[in-house]
């Protein structure tokens, strides 16, 4: 029922809305609220279905009506009392179905549905194209009273020109139940104080539009049941059937792959404009990753493959599938790729330091995985030296993927059917295990080799035009005055831009030993900064965790605040920088080194003030930008082609 029902022991005087034909018993306090609220006139009281639609009806075909499940079914009685399956009335036509009962006197309930169906009948009868393709069905809620004869008589009041409008009922309340359940249409019979049926069946008004495949395509309620919208919807279904597979396109294509899809470049200024990519355009194409291993791009050395884990395409594919599977974390929320995001340089450009399961704080910036196969040691503190072993640390870390045990991960992998054959095929019959999981993930990571950058073509390929003048100046500074090359090494035949060593630049020292400013600048919207007291959210924040770098591995006080020299390949794709992501741009990084890092007793002697001019900084940035590999979009497209693993049921 679509009226207000009030049931009260206090026997408050009933208020009768004669204009509505609705009987409503309302406690006094509610009446007051009603008067206060209902400042509009009685002309507004009828449901929209009775009135002219207040807005333009949707244009047929300009939208989709996704199926929301199969129409209900069950035994019914037609107007002649013949028992039939409701399903027989579906399939050949579009069906508009409503539940009513003939005694219903709520003007915005069953009479509304019947009124709208009546309007539809009239409109459809005038539509040569549609009139033979639509059936309307009114089914009674009240089989005890609404016999086939009563329904037939009732129907005659409304039916015009033999339109296909059926008035059906059921043998009993029991027989009605499966149909109501099928349409998810609960009802409540109202009883009076003596336990007698009060003649009112309360229900949520729902009218259903059913297509020719028996799928429910729309459900109308009091507030938007209107002949105009129902007609538009029927036409939309008809157009869809004519077009066979008509669909509104969701996908836009043709943009570059790399870079965060949620571009915030210039967010600090009021003139910021979004340049947001559609998630659906994040589509790609699988590539043969083996080629980056067999023949690494120009500028990279040959890759060393461990003897006990020869690389194969099956292992690479399995490793890739695991890499993108969020089920690899304890609560199915994090995959490797959620922190090492392909289009964000296989790191996260949106976070200084990573966030683990349940939002737990990770102290360090997710390192890029480009060319990780060439790394002699892993993690910012160099604590691991094998990719096969490394994978288990984030899998088990409480503040990363948080799995409670190796066995937990293995058993989970065994339970996921998508992996059943793949391990055995990749590992000669071996299933998921500590060793095979590590080997598969390591194999995929060893393919993320990216070079043949403008620098490589210029330096190793002897293409003098591959880098512009500014970048060449930058190279000269890099290898000369700015002394970057002393740690970010360039070899004769290849360049990994790392010495594989650890250094104290002072940035870790600053974190541990520096004092916090009283004030903090926070950006709260594009171009809007606030200066806030640093302790304004102190009660809501955990203490910032300390980080002592390599010392945490060796226990040697001389190793405090030492971190590994990262590669610089694809550096323009892997912001923010430093082990703690504290520097957002390459300019800030160069300024940091230009001032000689942060002084401390363990500062690496290689770090000295550089006295770079402004244009020299620009040249260095130009050079660093020339380190972006030519195949990054190919590697990203390959990653995009891999579906994300999620809980399926």
């Amino acid at each position: 029922m679509d009226i207000i029902r009030c049931i009260t022991q206090n026997k408050l005087a009933p208020l009768v809305f004669l204009a509505l034909g609705v009987f409503c018993f309302i406690p006094a306090e509610t009446v007051l609220a009603q008067e206060r609220h209902n400042h509009d006139t009685a002309t507004q009281i009828l449901a929209p279905g009775y009135r002219v639609l207040e807005y333009a009806a949707p244009e047929p075909g300009a939208y989709k009506l996704p199926p929301s499940g199969k129409a209900g079914n069950g035994l019914i009685l037609d107007e002649n009392g013949r028992e039939r399956l409701l399903d027989e009335f579906f399939g050949d036509k579009y069906v508009v179905l409503s539940f009513i009962y003939t005694n219903c006197n709520d003007v915005n309930g069953c009479p509304l549905a019947t009124f709208v169906l009546g309007q539809l009948q009239q409109r459809l009868a005038e539509d040569a194209k549609l009139k033979d393709h639509v059936r309307m069905i009114s089914i009674s809620f009240d089989p005890d009273f609404d016999s086939p004869a009563i329904m037939a008589k009732y129907g005659k009041q409304f039916n015009r020109n033999n339109f296909d409008w059926r008035f059906l009922t059921t043998k009993s309340t029991r027989q009605l139940q499966p149909i109501l359940r099928g349409f998810n249409q609960p009802i409540q019979k109202e009883y009076n104080e003596n336990g007698e049926y009060a003649g009112v069946i309360s229900h949520i008004l729902r009218v259903f539009l059913i297509d020719k495949t028996r799928q429910v395509r729309n459900i109308y309620s009091v507030s938007f049941l209107h002949p105009d919208t129902v007609i538009s919807d029927i036409k939309t279904l008809a157009m869809e059937d004519e077009a066979e597979g008509y669909a509104v396109s969701d996908v836009a294509n043709g943009l570059r792959k790399h870079g965060t899809g949620d571009d915030k470049d210039g967010y600090e200024t009021e003139s910021y404009r979004t340049n947001t990519k559609s998630l659906l355009s994040r589509q790609g194409e699988t590539t043969d990753l083996m080629k980056t291993v067999k023949q690494p791009p120009l500028g990279l050395p040959g890759i060393t493959i461990p003897e006990n884990n020869p690389i194969t395409r099956k292992k690479i594919q399995l490793g890739k599938q695991l890499f993108f599977d969020r089920r690899l974390s304890y609560n199915n929320t994090l995959s490797c790729a959620m922190c090492h995001i392909p289009e964000q340089g296989f790191t996260s450009q949106e976070l200084a330091t990573a966030v683990g399961v349940e939002g737990r704080t990770v102290r360090r910036n997710a390192p890029t995985l480009y060319n990780v196969g060439f790394a002699r040691n892993l993690f910012h503190d160099a604590r691991e030296n094998s990719l096969e072993q490394q994978v288990w640390i984030p899998l088990l870390a409480h503040n990363e993927m948080a799995n409670p045990a190796v066995g937990f991960v293995i058993e989970k992998l065994k339970s996921i059917t998508e992996y059943t054959d793949k391990f055995e095929q990749a590992f000669h019959g071996k299933g998921p295990g500590m060793e095979t999981t590590g080997m598969a993930l390591a194999s995929y990571q060893r393919t993320l080799n990216s070079a043949n950058a403008p620098f490589d073509r210029w330096y190793y390929g002897q293409d003098s035009k591959a880098m512009d003048e500014q970048a060449i100046t930058g190279f000269e500074l890099f290898t000369g005055k700015a002394r970057c090359v002393s740690c970010h090494a360039i070899n004769k035949d290849y360049a990994l831009f790392t010495d594989h060593k650890l250094h104290n630049t002072g940035i870790g020292y600053l974190n541990s030993m520096g004092s916090q400013d009283d004030k903090q600048q926070v950006i709260v919207a594009p171009g809007a900064r606030l200066t806030i007291d640093s302790d304004v959210v102190a009660e809501a924040s955990e203490p910032e965790p300390n980080d002592l770098g390599y010392y945490e591995i060796t226990g040697n006080p001389d190793d405090r605040w030492k971190y590994k020299t990262p590669t610089l390949r694809n550096i323009s794709l892997t912001a923010p920088y430093m082990h703690n992501g504290s520097l957002g741009t390459l300019k800030q990084v160069i300024e940091f080194y230009n001032q000689g890092g942060v002084k401390n007793e363990l500062l690496d002697p290689l770090i000295q003030p550089l006295k770079l001019e402004k244009e020299e900084t620009g040249a260095l940035i130009a050079f660093l930008n020339a380190l972006t590999g030519s195949n990054v979009d190919e590697l990203i497209a390959d990653a995009f082609a891999q579906p994300v693993g999620n809980v399926k049921q």
Binding site: D262, L279, L351, S541, E542
Partner: protein
């Protein structure tokens, strides 16, 4: 059937603005398609986050008896643990009000509770565990909003980068997936126009104005931010750029975005006016601390404009839940960081004025009021890693019941959710026997039931 034990008025599926002479308050914030409680509510269902080190540490639905005529008034009469910490956040009722959908922002699970079989003792009816895969990658189900026979679920994030780009997902009342609607981005606006400079593709809340065929969504932030420690996030300049700055006006019938409005600073809850000609809604921006009016002009075009400041932005008051009064004259605004609730006069919607404030606790988030506005309930928790670790007098995690006499709030009772070993209370929804033509059973001693 026996008569009801007290006055109760229930309205079913009412086109409230036009037909029904009613509205409500917690109820005012809910779907117009939904059955309403317009008299004394019997219960408040509190969707509660599990907390490490507290009780059984897992998310739970807590039922509080709030009927002053009940012997159990002010007591917890039931708790139902669901397993795990899912970042319990918002919940919503189906249009027939038989089921309560409660979502977890972290694990993206949706717990569907049967609240009609025994309104005093909700049962877990079904758990949707494949929300992410079914939706094509939407993460962080937030608002669960009743449409006729269906539920619309807003998302906050995605399974590709855990950022703020996301979509909305439609389900049947049975919990079967129907469709995903992606929020408009520059690359694919789905036919919408940008009113300003922004189309971020973020999501948060949704409300509808059926008679205008309009649906309105707001925008918060992605998993990375809403899951991480608040201090860590505020110190991370990149993370702070990842907040929503848009409100989207949709064609409700087509489920297509029409216009993207610039509303900078994380617009959160959307509350629409009920008056038959009041074609506007309010939202508040969490970071820029303003009330915004989202309104339709005479030509049918939609706009957004700030209509009041909420406290001092520099102090990060962090406006969170808002609640509109039944007659569209008042708007409650909770500010999380200072624990205040603030009442604004919105009788001129273009010029909101703060007229009353009250400190409720060390922090505050949600509020729900009875439909007549006389009873107001508050809870404390915002997000598990944003909440205060300690507060004055330990008054951090609570459910509090107040009365409002038109001039002041008066506390009726308070439940300390830490002392009760429950966790962090978040969203409240009302329950009533009368919705299901049921009677309140003879009073029983529930002291055992509270701690199963």
């Amino acid at each position: 059937m026996k008569q009801m034990s007290k006055p109760i008025c229930v309205a079913f599926s009412i086109f409230l603005m036009a037909i029904a002479p009613i509205a409500s308050s917690d109820e005012t914030c809910m779907s117009p398609y939904m059955a309403k409680i317009v008299g004394q509510e019997d219960f408040v269902y509190v969707w509660t986050l599990g907390m490490e080190g507290v009780g059984d540490q897992q998310d739970k639905l807590v039922t509080v008896d709030v009927n002053p005529q009940s012997g159990n008034y002010g007591k917890i009469i039931n708790t139902l643990s669901v397993g795990g910490r899912n970042e319990a956040h918002h919940s919503g009722l189906t249009d027939d009000r038989r089921y309560l959908w409660a979502a977890g922002l972290d694990t993206s699970k949706i717990f569907i509770f049967d609240i009609h079989t025994d309104p005093a003792k909700p049962r877990l009816h079904k758990t949707i565990t494949n929300f992410v895969s079914a939706s094509g990658g939407v993460v962080g189900p937030h608002t669960t909003y009743a449409l006729p026979g269906k539920m619309l679920v807003t998302g906050l994030s995605n399974d590709k980068d855990h950022g703020g780009r996301t979509g909305m997902v439609e389900y049947t009342n049975d919990g079967d997936y129907i469709a995903t609607y992606w929020m408009p981005t520059d690359e694919n606006l789905y036919g919408a126009v940008k009113a300003g400079k922004l189309a971020d593709g973020y999501g948060y809340d949704v409300r509808v104005l059926p008679r205008r065929n309009v649906m309105i969504t707001s925008s918060f932030t992605g998993w990375n931010n809403y899951m991480m420690d608040l201090g860590k996030m505020m110190a991370d300049p990149e993370a702070m750029k990842r907040f929503g700055n848009t409100v989207v006006i949709w064609d409700l019938h087509k489920r297509q975005p029409k216009k993207v409005l610039d509303v900078p600073g994380a617009p959160l809850e959307v509350r629409c006016a009920w008056g038959a000609r009041n074609n506007y809604c309010f939202t508040s921006t969490a970071l820029t601390s303003k009330i915004w009016l989202i309104y339709e002009d005479d030509t049918g075009d939609w706009h957004a404009k700030p209509v009041a400041d909420i406290g001092e932005a520099e102090k990060i008051p962090l406006p969170v839940d808002i609640s509109i009064a039944a007659d569209d004259s008042l708007l409650w605004v909770d500010t999380w960081n200072d624990g205040m609730t603030r009442l604004f006069d919105i009788s001129d919607p273009h010029n909101a004025k703060e007229i009353y404030t009250e400190k409720i606790g060390a922090q505050i988030n949600m509020l729900s009021q009875s439909w007549d506005g006389k009873r107001v309930y508050f809870t404390s928790s915002l997000l598990s890693n944003w909440d205060k670790k300690q507060g004055e007098d330990g008054d951090v995690q609570y459910f509090k019941a107040y009365t409002w006499d038109g001039k002041k709030l008066t506390k009726q009772f308070s439940i300390d959710f830490i002392k009760a070993k429950l966790g962090m209370p978040h969203q409240m929804r009302f329950g009533s026997y009368a919705l299901y033509a049921k009677n309140r059973p003879a009073e029983v001693d529930i002291s055992v039931a509270a701690n199963p």
